[in-house]
């Protein structure tokens, strides 16, 4: 890979070369030689993607699991996750405003660090998103079963996986055939969720600090010591993966120099605060042992404890919406991630074909949906979440490294609207903390994650060794 002479273009095994065209970016459109690409997503849309992707996991799936592992100190675990996410979101914002294109983290790394790193991250991101989506779907399955239970139909946990599979297949088919504009729906869902949560957390928060209701029984803050706080942080980090999904739609965002940083940093801040308050409220309502016993839908019992049946119903309904919106947003991000690597000839060009009837990328959606269903069938919530986090954290760490590499030797085209404050400390800390968090994961997750990365590197060596991406815009 020759860094400076970026004109040289290699081809993959099938003789396809990356599609790289000179473009001019304005606030409203991307202009190429022959055509223009309208930027249609505003700040609200960006925030809705970020928050909508994240909120399902952090609030509606993890509280019980996290409290069981770390006690009330799980709030600290979520705070650690928020800090790491923020340290990465800032450098990601700078790179996204410098390269406001679809592809997100993969794009920055392939241009900043070269094809091998790009291929590993790009293909790993595909699998990372697949693991994350499977995780959201299993969470959705639990909430669906709980909804039925609230309605008086007890079906038992045996139906969690079948329901998750059914809806996973449903989302994939809907995304191929449905051409209705769902973006406005997503905005509405996120707004509704935030309202439910703010009412609920507001009331719960007042009660937990003892202003209303009965004082809660005191409990030791970190009953299991400091180590579980960090391992829990590694587990629940899946709750923060959404901000990078905002970067995958960077090419469609209006006024990217302003909206991208605001949407990424803003969504991390908003959900981070909500998570910490949620854990605080949840662990105030019940002891962490009880909470852990409720499992994936512990929040429903918390809702019941504070606001009776209405609270339980509101949380069940919110949980259904939130896990659904997370799963659906991730399916879309997966398809975009596949498109980004296929455009660069790291996967066959066929993968980004659009079908004539619906105008949707059916191949990429299928390459997302198929593996998602396989993984959903395993039903291993914690493993799915950690592998998803693992693969994303590798990307996050490398994004920070790519930023430092680009800044040390700024190419001519590098002109971001947003520059990360506190350079080089912030990106360096972002890289270190991303990689460090991986160290606290379960061995099984590490094996699976590492195996996927080795496989993607092998694919690169076989398929796209001659492709050069570094420095190309």
């Amino acid at each position: 890979m020759s860094g400076e002479s970026s004109v040289s273009e290699g081809t993959n095994v099938e003789g396809e070369a990356p599609v790289v065209e000179p473009t001019v970016e304005t606030d409203d459109a991307t202009i190429t030689d022959e055509s223009e690409l309208e930027r249609t997503l505003g700040l609200t849309g960006g925030l809705a993607i970020g928050i909508g992707t994240m909120i399902g996991a952090g609030i509606f799936v993890f509280p019980g699991l996290a409290a069981g592992r770390a006690g009330p100190a799980a709030a600290v675990s979520f705070s650690i996750g928020a800090v790491v996410a923020l340290l990465v979101a800032l450098p990601t914002s700078e790179l996204a405003t410098a390269m406001p294109k679809s592809g997100g983290g993969y794009y920055f790394i392939s241009r900043g660090l070269g094809t091998l790193a790009g291929a590993v991250v790009g293909l790993s991101l595909w699998f990372g998103l697949v693991f994350a989506t499977a995780f959201y779907l299993v969470g959705f399955g639990y909430y669906a079963v709980d909804t039925l239970a609230e309605l008086g139909i007890a079906v038992g946990e045996g139906l969690v996986i079948p329901i998750a599979l059914l809806f996973g297949a449903g989302f994939t088919v809907l995304n191929v055939t449905g051409t209705e504009n769902a973006a406005k729906l997503q905005n509405g869902v996120v707004a509704l969720l935030l309202s439910i949560l703010i009412v609920f957390l507001g009331y719960g928060g007042l009660e937990s600090v003892g202003l209303v209701g009965d004082p809660a029984a005191p409990e030791r803050f970190a009953p299991f010591g400091a180590m579980p706080v960090f391992t829990t942080a590694a587990l629940v980090f899946t709750s923060y993966l959404g901000f990078a999904q905002v970067a995958t739609v960077a090419g469609e965002m209006k006024d990217p120099g302003r909206n991208l940083p605001l949407a990424m940093v803003g969504s991390v801040l908003i959900v981070g605060v909500l998570y910490v308050v949620t854990i605080f409220v949840a662990t105030s309502a019940f002891g962490s042992e009880t909470l852990s016993g409720f499992g994936e839908t512990a929040m429903v019992e918390v809702g019941r404890d504070y606001l009776g049946p209405i609270g339980a119903f509101a949380i069940v309904f919110g949980g259904l919406l939130a896990t659904m919106s997370s799963a659906n947003a991730s399916v879309l991000s997966t398809s975009r991630a596949i498109y980004a690597v296929s455009r660069d000839a790291l996967l066959p060009r066929r993968a980004s074909r659009i079908n004539l009837r619906y105008g949707t990328p059916h191949t990429a959606l299928g390459m997302a949906g198929g593996p998602i269903l396989v993984l959903t069938a395993t039903g291993r919530v914690e493993l799915l979440a950690e592998v998803a986090s693992f693969l994303h954290l590798i990307m996050y760490g490398l994004i920070c490294v790519a930023l430092i590499a680009l800044r040390r030797n700024e190419p001519e085209w590098y002109d971001p609207d947003f520059r990360v404050p506190g350079y080089p400390v912030v990106p360096a800390l972002g890289a270190i903390s991303s990689f460090a968090l991986i160290g606290f994961m379960q061995p099984a997750s590490l094996y699976v994650g590492t195996g996927i990365m080795i496989a993607t590197a092998g694919w690169y060596a076989y398929y796209a060794r001659d492709v050069t991406l570094k420095g190309q815009l």
Partner: protein
């Protein structure tokens, strides 16, 4: 010269009828080929697959509108949002008018509806420019509850057109439902010229008035776009009228 934007869903086979092409031929025309992609699809992905085909179709269309004489050009946009694209390109190209395509043969007579929030003077001066010295007549149409005021306004608007040698008629609909009256009048004409209307609850529910006229009359509709200063202009006019 006024520039007219002609938006077409180019990959869905939308084309322009011969009557509209020859009506707009002397004007500056920007053919806007757009393709609306569903939100699952990044616009760039659609571009990769369809750009060539769309460009071929647009080049042919632009040459029909007079690309060789330098009066026509084309733009190709992949978008999630048709309205946003039309507004942006209209603003960038300085197009004061946009056309909604429709089926028509040779145009002999235009229906000019003095509606919307655009100053009557702007609509009429566009009509004069469009017709030029061609053998095309114009019918000025107004629907109002105030018969006397309406007649006065029509006379006032018709005079400068008649002075230019254009065959002008006027048609006043009093106490009729304005939209239906406009559609009835459009039936005897080959194309409609009208002013843009500011978005309202009504347009939110039923769709934009111009689009509904186009759908109801089947023929092409030329919409004179609103300008920033239009609302002030018409406010001034009303104020002056009240004073006198």
């Amino acid at each position: 010269m006024t520039r007219i934007l002609v938006p077409l869903a180019i990959l869905e086979g939308e084309s322009v009828s011969a009557g509209l092409t020859s009506l707009l031929q002397p004007m500056n025309v920007t053919v806007l080929g757009y393709h609306v992609v569903p939100e699952q699809t990044p616009p760039d992905q659609a571009r990769l697959q369809y750009e060539e085909r769309a460009t071929d179709a647009l080049e042919d269309l632009a040459s029909e509108f007079g690309a060789e004489d330098g009066t026509a050009e084309y733009r190709l946009v992949f978008t999630h949002d048709r309205t946003q694209t039309i507004d942006r390109v209209a603003a960038e190209t300085g197009s004061d008018v946009y056309a909604i395509r429709g089926a028509t043969g040779p145009v002999d007579r235009l229906l000019v509806a003095l509606t919307g929030d655009v100053a009557v003077e702007r609509i009429c001066s566009f009509v004069a420019e469009l017709i030029g010295d061609r053998e095309i007549g114009a019918t000025l149409f107004l629907a109002t509850d105030d018969e006397e005021g309406g007649r006065e306004l029509l006379e006032l608007a018709a005079t400068p057109l008649a002075d230019r040698g254009i065959d002008v008629r006027t048609e006043l609909a009093v106490d009729e439902p304005p939209f239906e009256a406009l559609l009835d009048a459009a039936a005897d004409h080959d194309a409609v010229v009208m002013g843009e209307r500011a978005p309202s609850l009504r347009s939110l529910v039923f769709g934009e008035e111009a689009d509904r006229v186009a759908a109801g009359s089947v023929g092409p509709v030329l919409v004179v776009r609103q300008r920033e200063d239009d609302s002030e202009e018409s406010a001034d006019r009303t104020a002056n009228g009240d004073d006198s």
